[in-house]
C-alpha cells in the first residue's frame, strides 16, 4: 500500500500555519477548525504508519530531503517506534487543541499557529536523524511552548515563561556546542553515520557526545535542575501542562533514546543514575506540595526519571525494553494528560480543595483511574511494565535499583493517594461547585477509556500476561455500568454472580485453595446478603466490593506469580475503596493503602527473587527459591504480614475496620485478612514445610505472632468503641494464626487452620451483629448502649455464642483451637510463646465480657427504649454462620479430620489419632462431641430444675434493685460501663503505649521534613535555576568523565 509520507506532516502543518497568518485575527473560528483539521491530518498520517508497520505491510522507511542520501542531506526515519510516538503526540495534539478551544480562540490565529507549529516540530524531532536538524526543531518547539505558556494571563505565567526561555536557551547553547564539536571530531551530523563509523576514539568526541546527551537530559527537566520546569507546570494553562508532560516530554525522551547510542553504551549506566535521582528526588519533594498543578509537575518529572532508568538498562532488559518503556510511557502519557485537564476543569489550586470533585461523582472515577494508573495498579499498562521491570532487574541482580525504584513509587503513591483521599472525603461544604464544558470533559473521558483499553491490550504481551483471567473484572465492569439500579437488584445480581462463579470454580481447586475460596466466596455472599438492609442506590458500593472479591478469587486461582500479584493488587484497590466509604475513614484508608502498597512491593521483590533463581513464573517457583532465599522468603512474609496486620504493620487496621460501614467491616475483617494468611501458608509451604532450613525465619515469625496476639488483645481491652474493639481483637486472632503456622508442625497448622475457619465464623458473626446494632442505636461507643437484650434478644444470642466461641470455652468450637495449640506448643517446645498466647486468651475474656455486658446487659438507656431488633437481612447471615459454629462445635472431627489429611501432605509426623469421636494426641485426648453432649446435658438438667423451682417468679422493673436503700433513676449512673478495666490499666499501662504508631509517625515526619528542606533549592529566581543547570552539567561531568 502507498502511505502518506510523514514529510507531509511538516509540509501541511507549515503551509496551513503560513496560510493562517494570512487570515488575520478576525477569523478565529474558521481558523480553529482548520487547526483541528491539520492536527487530525497529522494523526491520520502517523496512525496509518503505525498500522502499516505493526502489521508488517511495510518496513521502516527512510525519507530523504533534497533528494540526496544521508549524510549529505537531512533524512527522516519512520519506524514502528517513531510511528507510535508520533501517533501519541498527534493524538494528544488533537485532544489538547479541542480542550483548549476557548483559550486558542480568544488569543486569535496567532496562538493557533503557534500550537500547530509546536506539534509539527515535535513530529520532526521524533523523526529526524540529523543532530543539527533535531536541534533546530527542538528550538522551534521550545519557542512555540514559550509562546503558549503566556496564553494564561497574569504575572506568574510571564515570569515562568521567562525562566523557561532562559533555561532552555542555555541548554540549547550547550547542545549546540556538543553538536558542533561532534561534527568537528567525527565529520558528520547524521546520527547513524556517527554511531556506525565513530567509536568515540577521541576524548574530545566523547565529551561533545556527553554535552549533547546531558543537554537532552536537561531538556527532560531532570531533578534537581528543573525549577524552571516546575514553574511552567504550575503557571501555564492546564492544557499546556498536559502537552508538556504528555507530548513534549515524550518527544524529548525519544530524542534521548535515539542519540544515546552516539556515546556507545558508556553513558547508559549514568542515564539510569540521573533517572533514579530524578525519580526518587522529585517524588520525595512532592510530599510537601499542595498546589495540584505543581504536584503533577513533580510527578511528571519523576515518571520521566523512571523512563530514563529503563533507557539506561536497555542492555539488561533486552527485548523487554520497548515493552516496559511503552507500558510506563503510555500510562503516564494518558494519566497525566487526564489529570492536567481535570485540574483545568476543577479549578482548585490546593489539593485539599479537590474535595469539590465529589460534587460530580463520576469525576472521582476519572481521577481514580488516572491516579491508580500512575501508581501502577492493574489493569493499567504501568502495572505490567513495572512487574516486568522489577522481574528483570532482580533477575540481573540489581536489587538496590529495585529498592530505589520501589521507594520512589512508594513516595508517589503517598501523595497521589492522599490527594485522592482529599477528593473522596475532604471537607467541601464551603467550596462552590464547578461547571463542566463538554469540549473539556470529552478529551478527559477519552484518555480514561484509553487507559483501560491499553491495559487490556498490553496485558497479553507481558511474558505470562496472557493467562490472566478477566472474567471477574468484566463482571465488575457490568455492575459498574448498572450502578444506577437500586440496591435490591444489584445485590441480587452480585450474589448470583458470585454463587455461579464459585460453583464453576470450586471443582478444580485443591483442598487448601478450596478452604480459602470458600471463605472468600461463601463469606462474601453471606455478607452481601446483609446489604439488602440498605435502601436507595448505595452508589459505587457494588463495583468496589466485587472488585475486592475478584482480586481474592484471582489470588486463589493464580497459576503464575503474575496472576497472583495481579489479583493481590486488584484486591487491594477494591478493599481500599470499600474501606474509604466509611464516614471518618479517610486517614485510615490512606494508611491502609500505604501499608498495602509497601507490602505489595515487598511481595513484588520477593517474587522477583523467586523468579530469578528459576526462570519461571509458575507458582511452583515459591517452593525452593534458590536466589537469596532468606531475603526472598522474608520479603514475601513481610508482604503478607502487612495484610494480616502483624504488630508493627497493624496501625491501619483498627481505624480501617472500625470506621468502615456495618457490612463492610466483616468483609474486610473476617474475609480479607485471610488473603494474607493464604499467602503466608503458600510461603511456608514453599520454605519446604517440615524439613525447613529456614527455621530462624519461622522462629522469628512465631514470636511475632505471639506478641501480636498479646498486643492486639491488650489494646482491645481498653477500647470504648465496639467496632475498634473487634478490630483489635482481629489483630490478636491473626497473631494466633501466624504463630500456629510458624510452628511448622502438623498440630501447629491444624490449630492454625481451625483458627482460620473459626475466626472467619465468629468474627463475621460479631462484626455483623455489632454493626447492625450500631446501625440501630447510632453510636459506636459501648458505654452509650446497655440493656439492649430487652430490645434485640436475637442479636444478644448471636453475640453470646460468638464470644463463647471466640474465648475458646468448651463446648463451642473455639476450644478446638486452644486444645490443638497446647499440644502443638508442647510438641514444638515453644513454651514461652505458648504461655504468652494463653495469657492473651485470658485477656480476651475481658473485652469479650465488655462486648456482651456493656452492650446488652445492665441498664437500658432511655433513648433506646424503643429501638427495634436488628434487621432481618443481618440476622439471616448471622444465624447461618451460627449454625456453622454449632456444627463445628458438635462434630469437630468433621472439620478437623479433613484438615488433618490435607496437612499430612506437608507434615506427615505427629498427626492426631481419631478413636471414634475422641481425638488423641501425643499428650492428651479430647472427645469434642461427648464433651459437648455432657455439658449441654447437665446444663439443661440444671436449667430445667431451676425453671421448675421458680415458676412463680415475678418480673421486676428495670430499677427494682437493692441499691443501699436508694432507688436509682437514671440508667447512665446505674450502668458502670466506662473505663471499667482501670485497675488492669494501672497495672499494665506501659504495655499499651502506641510505640509502633509513634515510630511510623516519626518516619513520615522525617521524610516530610527532608522534602521541605530540600525543595527550598527552588528559590524561584531564574538565575538560580540557570546556576542549577550549569552545576548539573559540571557534577555529571565529574561523575561520568571524572575531572
Amino acid at each position: 500500500m502507498n502511505l502518506i509520507s510523514p514529510i507531509y506532516i511538516v509540509a501541511v502543518s507549515l503551509g496551513i500555519a503560513f496560510f493562517m497568518g494570512l487570515l488575520g485575527n478576525k477569523a478565529q473560528r474558521s481558523s480553529f477548525l482548520i487547526l483541528i483539521a491539520a492536527l487530525l491530518f497529522n494523526t491520520v498520517v502517523s496512525v496509518q504508519w503505525v498500522y502499516a508497520l505493526a502489521t508488517g505491510l511495510t518496513d521502516p522507511t527512510q525519507i530523504f530531503t533534497a533528494g540526496f542520501k544521508p549524510p549529505f542531506s537531512i533524512n527522516l526515519l519512520m519506524g514502528l517506534n517513531e510511528s507510535v510516538i508520533t501517533a501519541l503526540i498527534n493524538i494528544v495534539g488533537v485532544l489538547g487543541a479541542f480542550y483548549m478551544m476557548k483559550a486558542l480562540k480568544k488569543n486569535g490565529t496567532g496562538s493557533q499557529v503557534v500550537f500547530l507549529v509546536l506539534f509539527m516540530s515535535l513530529n520532526v524531532v521524533v523523526l529526524s536523524r540529523d543532530l543539527f536538524n533535531i536541534f533546530v526543531f527542538l528550538e522551534v518547539g521550545s519557542i512555540a511552548l514559550a509562546g503558549l505558556i503566556i496564553l494564561q494571563k497574569g504575572t506568574k505565567a510571564v515570569s515562568a515563561g521567562f525562566k523557561y526561555m532562559l533555561a532552555t536557551g542555555i541548554i540549547s547553547g550547550i547542545l549546540l556546542i556538543g553538536i558542533i564539536f561532534i561534527y568537528r571530531f567525527t565529520g558528520s551530523l547524521n546520527i547513524d553515520s556517527i554511531i556506525t563509523n565513530n567509536p568515540m576514539l577521541k576524548q574530545g568526541a566523547f565529551v561533545s557526545a556527553f554535552l549533547i546527551i546531558i543537554a537532552i537530559v536537561l531538556e527532560l527537566k531532570s531533578f534537581p535542575a528543573n525549577g524552571w520546569g516546575l514553574d511552567v507546570y504550575e503557571a501555564s494553562h492546564p492544557g499546556i501542562g498536559a502537552i508538556l508532560s504528555a507530548a513534549s516530554a515524550t518527544a524529548t525522551y525519544f530524542v534521548l533514546y535515539k542519540i544515546v547510542e552516539i556515546a556507545g553504551s558508556q553513558l547508559n549506566y549514568y542515564i539510569s543514575l540521573i533517572g533514579v535521582v530524578s525519580f526518587v528526588g522529585s517524588n520525595l519533594l512532592a510530599l510537601k506540595q499542595e498546589n495540584s498543578k505543581r504536584l503533577l509537575g513533580y510527578s511528571s518529572i519523576g515518571q520521566i526519571g523512571l523512563l530514563m532508568i529503563i533507557l539506561g538498562f536497555k542492555d539488561i532488559l533486552g527485548e523487554n525494553t520497548t515493552y516496559v518503556a511503552f507500558g510506563i510511557l503510555v500510562s503516564h502519557y494518558l494519566a497525566k494528560a487526564g489529570l492536567f485537564w481535570l485540574s483545568g476543569i476543577v479549578k482548585q489550586k490546593n489539593i485539599k480543595d479537590w474535595a469539590v470533585t465529589r460534587k460530580k461523582p463520576y469525576f472521582l472515577f476519572l481521577m481514580g483511574t488516572f491516579i491508580f494508573a500512575l501508581i501502577g495498579f492493574p489493569p493499567f499498562p504501568s502495572f505490567f511494565a513495572k512487574w516486568t521491570l522489577v522481574m528483570d532487574l532482580v533477575n540481573s541482580g540489581n536489587i538496590s535499583w529495585v529498592v530505589a525504584i520501589l521507594f520512589g513509587s512508594m513516595m508517589e503513591a503517598v501523595y497521589m493517594i492522599r490527594w485522592f483521599g482529599y477528593a473522596i472525603k475532604g471537607e467541601n461544604e464551603n467550596i462552590e461547585s464547578f461547571k463542566i464544558d463538554s469540549y473539556k470533559i470529552i478529551p478527559v473521558g477519552i484518555v480514561a477509556i484509553a487507559l483501560y483499553v491499553a491495559g487490556y491490550f498490553v496485558a497479553p504481551h507481558s511474558e505470562v500476561g496472557t493467562a490472566i483471567n478477566f472474567i471477574p473484572l468484566y463482571f465488575v465492569a457490568a455492575i459498574f455500568i448498572l450502578d444506577f439500579l437500586p440496591v435490591f437488584i444489584k445485590n441480587t445480581i452480585a450474589i448470583i454472580g458470585m454463587a455461579l462463579y464459585f460453583y464453576f470454580v470450586y471443582p478444580n481447586l485443591d483442598t487448601l485453595r478450596l478452604i480459602f475460596e470458600a471463605i472468600f466466596m461463601v463469606g462474601g455472599i453471606l455478607t452481601l446478603i446483609a446489604g439488602y438492609a440498605y435502601k436507595g442506590k448505595r452508589a459505587g458500593f457494588y463495583p468496589v466490593a466485587l472488585l475486592m472479591y475478584a482480586g481474592l478469587t484471582a489470588i486463589i486461582e493464580a497459576q503464575t506469580t503474575l496472576q497472583f500479584f495481579f489479583g493481590w493488587e486488584v484486591m487491594t484497590a477494591g478493599s481500599y475503596f470499600l474501606i474509604i466509604r466509611g464516614k471518618r475513614s479517610m486517614p485510615h484508608g490512606l494508611s491502609y493503602m500505604l501499608f498495602s502498597i509497601g507490602g505489595a512491593y515487598a511481595l513484588l521483590t520477593g517474587l522477583g527473587m523467586a523468579h530469578a533463581g528459576q526462570e519461571s513464573f509458575s507458582m511452583e517457583i515459591l517452593n525452593g527459591i534458590s536466589y537469596l532465599p532468606y531475603w526472598a522468603y522474608g520479603l514475601l512474609i513481610v508482604g503478607f504480614l502487612s495484610k494480616t496486620a502483624a504488630l508493627g504493620l497493624h496501625i491501619w487496621l483498627p481505624g480501617a475496620h472500625g470506621e468502615a460501614e456495618s457490612d463492610v467491616s466483616p468483609m474486610v475483617s473476617a474475609i480479607l485478612l485471610k488473603a494474607g494468611v493464604f499467602g503466608i501458608v503458600l510461603t511456608l509451604i514453599g520454605m519446604g514445610a517440615a524439613n525447613t532450613q529456614y527455621s530462624e525465619l519461622a522462629y522469628a515469625l512465631g514470636w511475632l505472632g505471639a506478641i501480636t496476639a498479646l498486643a492486639g488483645n491488650l489494646m482491645a481491652v481498653f477500647q470504648e468503641d465496639a467496632k475498634r474493639l473487634l478490630a483489635y481483637s482481629s489483630i490478636g486472632q491473626l497473631g494466633y494464626i501466624v504463630l500456629g503456622m510458624a510452628m511448622m508442625t502438623h498440630l501447629g497448622w491444624l490449630g492454625g487452620f481451625s483458627y482460620v475457619i473459626n475466626h472467619f465464623l465468629y468474627k463475621a458473626v460479631l462484626f455483623l451483629t455489632i454493626g447492625a446494632v450500631v446501625l440501630r442505636v447510632g453510636t459506636h461507643n459501648m458505654y452509650q448502649m446497655g440493656g439492649l437484650i430487652k430490645r434485640m434478644p436475637l442479636a444478644f444470642i448471636a453475640v453470646m455464642i460468638g464470644i463463647i466461641a471466640l474465648s475458646g470455652v468448651p463446648p463451642l468450637s473455639g476450644f478446638a483451637g486452644k486444645w490443638l495449640f497446647y499440644n502443638a506448643i508442647l510438641d514444638k517446645g515453644w513454651y514461652f510463646q505458648g504461655a504468652i498466647m494463653f495469657f492473651s486468651g485470658g485477656i480476651a475474656f475481658m473485652y469479650l465480657w465488655r462486648l456482651i455486658h456493656t452492650v446488652f446487659l445492665g441498664q437500658l438507656k432511655d433513648n433506646h427504649r424503643n429501638v427495634k431488633e436488628i434487621s432481618i437481612w443481618f440476622l439471616i447471615p448471622i444465624y447461618t454462620l451460627l449454625a456453622g459454629i454449632m456444627v463445628y462445635s458438635m462434630k469437630p472431627q468433621w472439620v478437623l479430620q479433613p484438615l488433618g489429611n490435607m496437612i499430612a501432605k506437608w507434615f506427615p509426623e505427629g498427626q492426631l489419632q481419631w478413636v471414634g469421636e475422641t481425638a488423641i494426641s501425643q499428650y492428651g485426648h479430647w472427645a469434642g462431641s461427648l464433651v459437648a453432649i455432657t455439658i449441654i446435658g447437665s446444663f439443661l438438667i440444671v436449667l430445667i430444675i431451676l425453671m421448675l423451682s421458680t415458676r412463680k417468679a415475678h418480673k421486676v422493673k428495670q430499677f427494682d434493685i437493692t441499691y443501699s436503700g436508694e432507688r436509682p433513676e437514671r440508667p447512665e449512673t446505674t450502668h458502670i460501663a466506662y473505663n471499667v478495666f482501670e485497675g488492669l490499666y494501672k497495672a499494665m499501662w506501659p504495655a499499651t503505649i502506641p510505640l509502633v504508631e509513634a515510630w511510623w509517625n516519626k518516619v513520615t515526619e522525617i521524610l516530610h521534613n527532608i522534602a521541605d528542606v530540600t525543595r527550598r533549592i527552588y528559590s524561584g529566581n531564574g538565575q538560580v535555576y540557570v546556576a542549577h543547570i550549569v552545576l548539573f552539567i559540571i557534577v555529571s561531568y565529574l561523575v561520568i568523565i571524572g575531572g
Binding site: 430487652k790 492428651g924 418480673k955 443501699s964
Partner: protein, 305 residues
C-alpha cells in the same frame, strides 16, 4: 464398668463433693469468726441456708439471663467435677475417675471459665452496677493469675509428657517423693502461690468486695438462685482444691486422703487470707506478675533445655 455404674459412681461422688464443700465452707467461716473473736456459725449452717433458699416462696426475675447466670455457674461446677479424676484407683475407668476420658487438663482449665462466664452474665442481667465492677475486677485478676498458672501447668505437662490429669496423678504414685511438689519444685511453688488468686480469698478477694457490704449479686439473687449459686460455689471450691491436689500433691488414692489434702490446700489459702489485708486489683495483678511469674519461667526454663 458399665455406663450405668459409671453414672451411679459419678452422682455419688458429686454428692460427696457437694457436702464436703458445705462442711469445709462452714468450718472455715467458723475459723474466721474465732480468729476475729466471734462465736461464728454452727457447722450445719450451709445446709440450713440451702433448705431455706430453696423453699422461699417469693422469687423475682430480671429476665432470661437472670436464670442463665446460676445455671451456668452450677453447670460450671458440675462440669469441672465431671472432667476431673477424683480418686486414683489404678485404672482409667475406675469408679471415681468420672468422665475424665472425655478431656484432659486443658479442657478443665478452660471449663473453669464457664462458671465465671455464668456469674458475669447473670450478674449483668441483674442490672446492679456493683456487680459489673466485681466482674471486671474478677476478670482482670483471673487473667493475671492465669499467666503463672499456665506456665506451671505447661511445665508439669512437659515433666510428665502428658496433659492427662489421670496420667499425671498416676505418675506421682508410690511415695511422697514422687509428688510434683518435690520433683518439680518451681512449678509447685508457682501453683501454690497462684492458687491463692484462683481461690479468691483475701488478699485477692476484692472481686467479692461489692457484696461485702450487703448488696450486689448476692442480694439480687435470692431464693433458689442463691441456693444454686451457693452449691455451685462450694463444689467449685472443692474442685479447685482437687485440681491442685492432683497436679502437685500426688492426687488421692481414697476419699479420706482427698478430704485431708483438699482441707489442707484450702486451709493454706484461708490462712493467708486471715493474715493479709485485701489488695487492690492493680496491686494483685502486679503481685502475680512478680514472684509467681518468675517462678513459672524458671519452672519452664529447667525443662526447655
Amino acid at each position: 464398668m458399665t455406663i450405668y455404674a459409671k453414672l451411679g459412681y459419678t452422682l455419688l461422688g458429686l454428692l460427696i463433693v457437694l457436702n464436703w464443700g458445705f462442711l469445709m465452707g462452714a468450718t472455715f467461716r467458723k475459723i474466721g469468726a474465732r480468729v476475729a473473736g466471734r462465736y461464728g456459725i454452727p457447722f450445719y449452717q450451709p445446709w440450713l441456708n440451702l433448705l431455706k433458699n430453696i423453699s422461699t416462696r417469693t422469687t423475682i426475675t430480671h429476665g432470661v439471663m437472670y436464670y442463665i447466670g446460676p445455671v451456668f455457674r452450677l453447670t460450671g461446677g458440675i462440669g469441672l467435677f465431671l472432667f476431673m479424676p477424683m480418686v486414683f484407683t489404678g485404672t482409667v475407668d475406675g469408679p471415681w475417675t468420672n468422665f475424665s476420658f472425655e478431656g484432659d487438663l486443658i479442657l478443665i482449665l478452660y471449663f473453669q471459665v464457664f462458671g465465671m462466664l455464668g456469674m458475669a452474665l447473670g450478674a449483668g442481667q441483674g442490672g446492679h452496677p456493683y456487680s459489673a465492677m466485681g466482674i471486671a475486677r474478677g476478670l482482670a485478676q483471673h487473667a493475671a493469675v492465669e499467666l503463672p498458672l499456665t506456665l506451671a501447668f505447661i511445665s508439669i505437662a512437659i515433666q510428665f509428657d502428658t496433659f492427662s490429669v489421670y496420667k499425671i496423678v498416676a505418675a506421682q504414685q508410690g511415695g511422697i517423693e514422687n509428688w510434683v511438689l518435690f520433683t518439680n519444685p518451681f512449678a509447685a511453688a508457682t501453683i501454690i502461690l497462684a492458687m491463692l488468686g484462683a481461690m479468691g480469698h483475701s488478699p485477692f478477694n476484692l472481686v467479692k468486695a461489692p457484696n461485702e457490704i450487703l448488696i450486689g449479686p448476692a442480694t439480687e439473687f435470692e431464693g433458689t438462685y442463691l441456693g444454686f449459686m451457693q452449691s455451685a460455689g462450694s463444689i467449685l471450691h472443692v474442685m479447685e482444691a482437687v485440681l491442685f491436689m492432683n497436679l502437685v500433691f500426688g492426687g488421692a488414692s481414697n476419699w479420706i486422703e482427698l478430704i485431708v489434702k483438699t482441707f489442707l490446700i484450702y486451709f493454706w489459702s484461708v490462712f493467708v487470707g486471715m493474715v493479709f489485708p485485701r489488695f487492690k486489683i492493680e496491686q494483685s495483678v502486679t503481685w502475680f506478675f512478680k514472684v509467681p511469674l518468675l517462678l513459672g519461667f524458671l519452672a519452664i526454663i529447667i525443662y526447655s533445655f
